[in-house]
Amino acid sequence: MEESELMKNCEALIIGGSAGSLEVLLRVLPALSPTLSFPVIIVVHRKHGTDSLLPDLLSGKTSLKVKEIEEKEQAMPGTVYIAPSDYHTLIEQNKTFSLDYSEKVNYSRPAIDVTFQTGAEAYKGKLVCMLLSGSNSDGVNGLKSVKAWGGITVIQDPETAQVAYMPAQAALQLKIDYTLSIEDMADFINLLS
């Protein structure tokens, strides 16, 4: 298959989403291989103050280790990292996380663009970024960066998204490498390993 050829070097997967993305994560995470050879970094928009809920919720759904990102922490394979609310998550060249309390981007903090973009520079051609359901265009510019640095772009098929706007905007503004239904996502991710 062409895709496994393309992506056997995957060193990180970043998933971004907003409205309607939690349901996708709850369906995809249980089907992920427990021995993924790369970190899965999740950036979803949510209300400030609901911090510890999301890691707890998601860790019940997978045998992978799930944790909220701590600043200066090293991204490790086989671990699911959740970006904390009300901070931007950035990825450093040495694959550690930095947190940043600067202005909102696209009315959002965390902004998916910020993590996609810094991730693109850190992982270059060995990064896969996936944009899920959502109602604004956060993440679209980030996907352009991923593309420019040689990484791979994936969107949830807008037809299957609770809120199609976010992945639809991505498809409109750049040439996306893979458009996946929710059913196909876990297999796709497991194949990257």
């Binding site: 600043e71 950035l90 450093e92 947190l99 309390y101 352009k144 593309k147």
Partner: protein, 275 residues
Amino acid sequence: MYSEVSLINDEQVDILLADLLDHYGYDFTGYSRASLKRRIIRLYSLDKALSFAEFRYQINNDPVYFKRFVEQITVNVTEMFRDPAFFKTLRDVVLPKLGTYPFIRIWLAGCSTGEEAYSISIILKELNLLHKSLIYATDLNPVVLEKAAQSMFALSQMKQYSENYIASGGQLDFSSYYTANYSLAKFDEELKRKIIFSTHNLVSDHTFNEFQLILCRNVLIYFDRDLQHKVLQLFDESLEPLGYLALGSKETIDFSPLSKNYKRVPAEKIWRKVS
């Protein structure tokens, strides 16, 4: 605002950081690079710089632009009573303990435009401790300190700040602390009387007093681990025995050998120096 491939590359960032150190004595080399680079690119694109050479020349030769550069690459986003639960712990646990001292010295490091300094001043006043307290509010950036000293904040923020204030245990009418003046809320002079705004650079300046409470929230996240170590050392030297150190909600002293001398106040990022 976003470019697909960076407008400024890592080598160029290194050049700018070396310039800042040479020309102005500002050392940003220990800052978290991804964040710093993003800020520099943001400014480059905001100010529509024509080329890297021109951008660099302006920073090095135009003192007004240099000031803008420093203000813009450091993060100055802050609010009053941000993280209300934290301020509730200050109000209910930490400050009443310090209230038994004859005199309370507080250092707010990285105070930015002053919102937290006024928040602390309000709590001290309500606890009847303001008259015997002194808040040293410092920042590396003189521009934000000038703003802070004006004690004026956007009126549009007051609804949020009032909610934060109430959630942090405040029981008065928050609007009694300011007078509305067009689009600005001017805070009472009394709140400012016990605040000293002053420049201090955590990277290069030394300890200047002993304190019973040091607050430095959402500053260490912008530093790499080595610089974080160094700054925690500085705080440790500046903190009296049994004094408190308060950090931002995602910051910790756990990685530092100093942490063995500190005991955490439950549920908040506040540590007490116990030995």
